[in-house]
């Protein structure tokens, strides 16, 4: 009896320890970014473009990167959604659960999920060369979209898998086609989950540096054309932290703080939004 109690306590202790490590490292990251970045953060950072080059520039702000990241992230998410939604509905409503095609597509998506983003960057670069494109917003959007498609598709896929078979059956039994069932029933029921998946993918896309390194490149000017390079926050953090000047490094932390706040804001927004759309969903 005593042995079982010790066992219980030891394992419970381990679980608490793991939870503590995860939670505290998150808090530590936030604190570090805040302490190092906050002093350098000022209004100029948010509303001005860099002065004196992004390597050495101690003046101006990172508005180019903020806007660039938002535009690139949003466009890539939208593009990824256009591909992911049909794919996932095909997997879940048109294919049988254990069909070979569905299983292999899921396997491929899982593999793609695991590929490091720098490889996507390199692949995007090859594509660019093939199509005669130069480093540009468009190339960045396409590469980031490729990067987040597996994430988005698999997340939505898991959401759709959770939907009870009886719900589809109820809709089919009324004479609905698969398309009508997908759009009018399944999509509605899955909407909160789909939103969460979209925002997870967006967060991943907006925060990735390696995939945009070769494809979107960097610039000091605001984004104004699909075919011109665009600045992004992860890359500006990368460049700023890479300088030997403490002031510029501090600006790097400030940029990181801005990026973190954007992602935090989006996470909170996603919570609120998915709460809004659960009005009619079946528990």
């Amino acid at each position: 009896m005593d042995k079982r109690r010790i066992e219980e306590n030891v394992f419970k202790g381990l679980m608490v320890f793991s939870t503590f490590i995860v939670a505290s490292s998150l808090v530590l990251i936030l604190i570090t970014i805040f302490i190092k970045g906050f002093p350098a953060l000022n209004l100029d950072m948010i509303i001005k473009t860099p002065k004196g080059g992004y390597y050495l520039g101690k003046e101006g702000g990172v508005l180019n990167a903020i806007l660039g990241s938002l535009i690139l992230g949003t466009a890539a998410t939208f593009l990824a959604l256009l591909v992911s939604l049909p794919l996932v509905f095909y997997l879940n409503l048109y294919l049988k659960k254990n069909s070979r095609l569905a299983l292999s597509v899921r396997f491929i998506l899982d593999v793609l999920w695991g590929i490091p983003s720098i490889v996507y960057g390199a692949f995007g670069f090859t594509l660019m060369v093939f199509f005669g494109l130069r480093a540009s917003l468009l190339a960045g959007i396409i590469t980031v979209a490729l990067l987040i498609i597996p994430i988005m598709a698999r997340s939505i896929d898991e959401v759709l898998k959770m939907i009870p078979f009886e719900l589809k059956e109820a809709s089919y039994a009324l004479g609905a086609t698969k398309l009508e069932t997908s759009i009018k029933v399944i999509f509605r029921q899955a909407l909160p989950g789909i939103l969460t998946a979209i925002l997870i993918a967006f967060g991943r896309g907006i925060g990735d540096a390696a995939s945009v390194l070769f494809t979107a490149s960097f610039t000091d000017s605001l984004p104004y054309s699909l075919f011109k390079p665009v600045a992004t926050l992860p890359l500006s953090i990368f460049f700023q932290l890479g300088t030997p000047f403490p002031e510029v490094q501090q600006r790097g932390y400030a940029s990181a703080l801005i990026l973190t706040v954007i992602i935090l804001f989006i996470s909170i927004l996603s919570r609120i939004l998915s709460g809004k759309f659960t009005k009619h969903t079946i528990k």
Binding site: K96, K97, N98, P164, E166, L167, K168, E169, A170, S171, Y172, A173, L174, G175, A176, T177, E180, K184, V185, R188, Q189, K279, H280, T281, I282, K283
Partner: protein
């Protein structure tokens, strides 16, 4: 036992992967009556029901062979528009499954997908069928609130209204009251009794009392085989076969122990009767003989004639498309050649 047939099943077999869920079922479902499918769990009741609106094909690895004729038309014919077929068949499932929408939209959904857009028409139809399923008074003030907030009994009535709104000819109920409280169950049963003048109703149930209360016609399935069917009174009061009797009495259903097997394939009446009588002559009182014959023989005079000799027919089954089996227990019949 003359009736107008609405759904006619011919040699229907269904497999889930390797497992055969239904074995060569042939049966007629009467028009505008309540037919109850009874039998122990896992005997293929729901499978039979769902083969009427082809929902069965959505199951993983399901394979269907045979014919189901609805209004004389084979629904498994590739030319049949499955959405039209399903529109004809309202389904009440075991647990009510409302759509993720408002009460109003749940009923209007079926109408919308079948092309009714006029708001006034929709309002009217929604009200009519909510009244028809006895839900209107409870929900008329909150038509646009969420259907999932209704109690489970109300949800089942909503599902009934939703099913009726697309104007089906048949109502299929897959144990529609099993998840409900007694009062809601009673309410659904009452509705079904009132609706049977307008619709053909097929009901899967494992509640025998419910079958007694509602059914005009009974189908008894056991392990994918059709054991017995007929007018409710006959089947429930005087079951012809042993398995039906055991099931109705709540006894364990066991396969009869066969003492002798006789193969009379290709032998016609009355030669097969004579062979059967000779074989029975060799047996002791109470021993059991299994006669394998062409199914047309099993389905016609032969069992009756054997019974007339004083023996007890325990079961008449269909083995496959052509063959049938008659299982006879020797009783006191004297035999004369």
């Amino acid at each position: 036992m003359k009736f107008k047939t609405h759904i006619s099943v011919k040699n229907l077999s269904v497999w889930y992967g390797r497992h055969q869920a239904l074995n060569n079922i042939s049966i007629d479902i009467p028009d505008k009556k309540i037919t109850a499918i009874i039998g122990p769990s896992g005997c293929g009741k729901s499978t039979l029901l769902k083969s009427f609106n082809r929902l069965v094909e959505l199951q993983d690895g399901a394979k269907v062979a045979g014919e189901v004729l609805v209004d004389g038309e084979d629904i498994y014919n590739p030319k049949v528009e499955v959405t039209h077929l399903r529109k004809k068949m309202g389904l009440l499932s075991q647990r009510p499954q409302v759509l993720p929408a408002s009460i109003y939209e749940n009923v209007a959904y079926g109408l919308r997908i079948h092309g009714i857009k006029d708001k006034r028409k929709l309002d009217e139809v929604v009200r009519h069928y909510l009244k028809e399923s006895n839900l209107w008074d409870e929900v008329k003030d909150r038509l646009h609130s969420s259907a999932s907030k209704l109690s489970i009994g109300q949800q089942q009535r909503l599902c009934l209204a939703r099913g009726l709104a697309v104007e089906p000819e048949v109502i299929l109920g897959d144990e529609p009251t099993s998840a409900l409280d007694p009062l809601s169950a009673e309410c659904i049963e009452q509705r079904l009794l009132e609706l049977k003048n307008q619709y053909t109703i097929v009901l899967v149930t494992h509640i025998l009392r419910q079958a007694r209360r509602l059914a005009d016609h009974i189908i008894f399935l056991y392990l994918g085989n059709l054991i017995e069917h007929g007018p409710a009174e006959e089947v429930l009061k005087n079951p012809r076969y042993l398995k039906t009797k055991s099931y109705l009495e709540g006894k364990f259903i066991e396969e009869p122990k066969i003492d002798k097997e006789l193969n009379l394939r290709g032998v016609i009446y009355p030669d097969n009767l004579i062979a059967a009588k000779l074989a029975l002559g060799d047996l002791q009182f109470g021993q059991i003989l299994k006669i394998i014959v062409d199914y047309e023989q099993a389905a016609s005079e032969l069992p009756k004639a054997i019974e007339h000799e004083g023996h007890k027919i325990l079961e008449v089954t269909k083995l496959d498309k052509n063959d049938g089996a008659i299982i006879v227990q020797k009783h006191n019949g004297g035999y004369v050649i």
